[in-house]
Amino acid sequence: MDTLFAANSLAEFFQALLALVGFPVSAPIAHVIAVVTHVALVVGWFGLPAGLFIWAERKISARIQDRLGPTRVGGKFGWLQSLADGVKLIQKEDLVPKDADGLMFRMAPYIVVVASLAAYLALPFSDGWTAVALDTGLFLTLAVLSLEVLGVILAGYSSGSKWALFGAIRESAQMVSYEIPMALCALCPIVTAGTLNLNEVALLQSGGVWNWNILHPFNFFAFFVYFTCATASCKRAPFDLAEAESELVAGFLTEYSGFRWSLFFLAEYASMFLVSGLATVLFLGGWDDGLGVLASIKTASPNGAVSFLANAIGLLFFLVKASVLVCVQIWVRWTLPRLRIDQVMTTCLKYLIPISCFLFAGTVAYPLVLATMSGKTSIIGQPAGERLVQPKKAAGVSNAGATTESHLRITATGTEGSGR
């Protein structure tokens, strides 16, 4: 029973579970099962919540615009409106323009969807509850996110329509430029934590709101810059230049209809949730409740059902935080007007990049300066080196080795010795 809850990854979990049930399987099979489960989870996740978000967006926008929004389908609040939309979209005819590049035209939506899907690869939903606990988690996530633009370009180009092309070019230009400040700001908490492993980043913030990175003087600003860039990279208003219905009919979506169109739509919401979750993990303490209860529980009983339960509760916290951020994005979309393309680029290249560079440098210098002034490396909360999870987790989370770890600490925070 313990092994069940002592599992480091889903694969081990299943292995233990099946062994418990009486079907002992080898590790590879367990891996396959785990992979399948992951995919099922993620797809299911935004099969369902994407719908939820769409519904939420309709309602929120309606409220912002002083309307009721959907009220009919499925009860008083129109719960099933999204489902109805989905059914309608699936029923629609799959059109491919005559002089479009058919293959590309068909392929584009899948690339986008796969990109935003794959971005969930390294995102931890709760302590250790991640598809692949990569050491380069954030890095990989950003990389995969950057793949999305290719799909957009492909779509715009292969449509063989100038509106689509315009939209695609705008989109690519915008995303390629916004990636830079986004990555820089995402690196700020990484520097503070000293690891790219999202799971560790989250763990390092656990144990109280005062440990969250957002209270770090530089990360605080970094959060907002990051969120702006994230919004832009999701093509959300006020940065939705790609489908600027007032200028380009619908941008790169012009020629699309039916299911393929809805794939783009899904991908958009998926990436919205992804960037929000990323923000949660990086700045908002991930699955940590603000009071350090869960952290204390887990430290009290590192493994077993209790910690499992704690993880489950942490999952809820995580979802809530992320969803709130998504709602914020929706809110922003329906309240702010759209910028001109030149304004968009100006915002990025002239303001966000310098600001983020400054923030990054500040975050790097901050602990060193602080350590030289006062022996500590952070004003509020424990220094990063001291709030580390128990060694058992460390084995699963990072195989980088204690010595390397300690070196990493030294190089990252200047004075702190190894907490492990």
Binding site: H31, D101, A133, T136, F139, L142, A143, L147, T403, T404
Partner: protein
């Protein structure tokens, strides 16, 4: 026939297929996206080989950056929709021939080496004592974590070379819990015996790193200068 074998074959196929499509296709944009396919699956291959950081970099830089750049180039230099500049079949045949011969040569070279088997190289090196370190360090089942060593090496600290952390005998048994530094040198005949006392730190890659950064800056400026639109040819 484990999962990673499956993955390997899958992505190996994708890589080769993409590469061949790049070589075969006449449409530049299709080439570009075949290239995306190739590079992406190459990145996965990197991951399979335990080089997660390199894989991620491959994705970010190549797929996310370079290829977008290429597509830009394609679109900026396109004279019409879906332009295709056909190359003469003679060229195709000639270069195809060369390619085949070349491939044959390289493949024969590769296969000529006895990788596994009694006294094959694999026996000597890959599956030798080094493999244990590999088991610890690069084993994909534990998602080889090369980020920190790489970062340290760029900060001129070779975690795998300088921190002489040779494996304890018993630790090789349960590889999971044993803290293993990737690429650490272990006792093996002919290859780098572990020094008794810590050797002075090697310089690592700090200088090349800096040089490359400056080089990037220079390239940025130079490319921006070159790409400026000048007077068109009078034709």
């Amino acid at each position: 026939m484990t999962a990673e074998i499956i993955l390997f074959w899958l992505f190996a196929f994708l890589t080769c297929a993409g590469a061949i499509m790049v070589a075969a296709s006449q449409n530049v944009v299709r080439m570009a996206f075949s290239l995306v396919l190739t590079l992406g699956s190459t990145a996965v291959l990197f991951l399979l080989l335990g080089a997660d950081f390199v894989g991620a970099t491959q994705l970010l830089v190549y797929v996310g950056g370079t290829l977008v750049l290429l597509v830009f180039g394609v679109m900026l230099t396109a004279t019409g929709p879906f332009t295709r500049i056909k190359s003469s079949p003679a060229d195709a045949i000639l270069s195809g021939l060369i390619g085949v011969v070349f491939l044959f040569i390289v493949a024969s070279t590769v296969t000529a080496v006895n990788w596994d088997g009694e006294n094959g190289i694999d026996q000597k090196i890959a599956m030798g004592a080094h493999a244990k370190a590999v088991e610890g360090g690069f084993n994909p089942t534990q998602q080889g974590n090369t980020t920190r060593p790489l970062g340290l090496s760029f900060l001129s600290l070779r975690a795998d070379r300088d921190l002489k952390l040779d494996l304890p005998k018993e630790s090789s048994a349960e590889t999971n819990t044993a803290p293993v530094v990737p690429g650490v040198s272990v006792v093996m005949p002919g290859v780098m015996p572990p020094p008794k006392s810590p050797v002075p730190l090697s310089t690592g890659y700090l200088l090349p790193f800096e040089i490359v950064s400056v080089h990037l800056l220079v390239v940025l400026v130079g490319a921006a200068y070159l790409a400026r639109t000048k007077r068109r040819a009078t034709t």
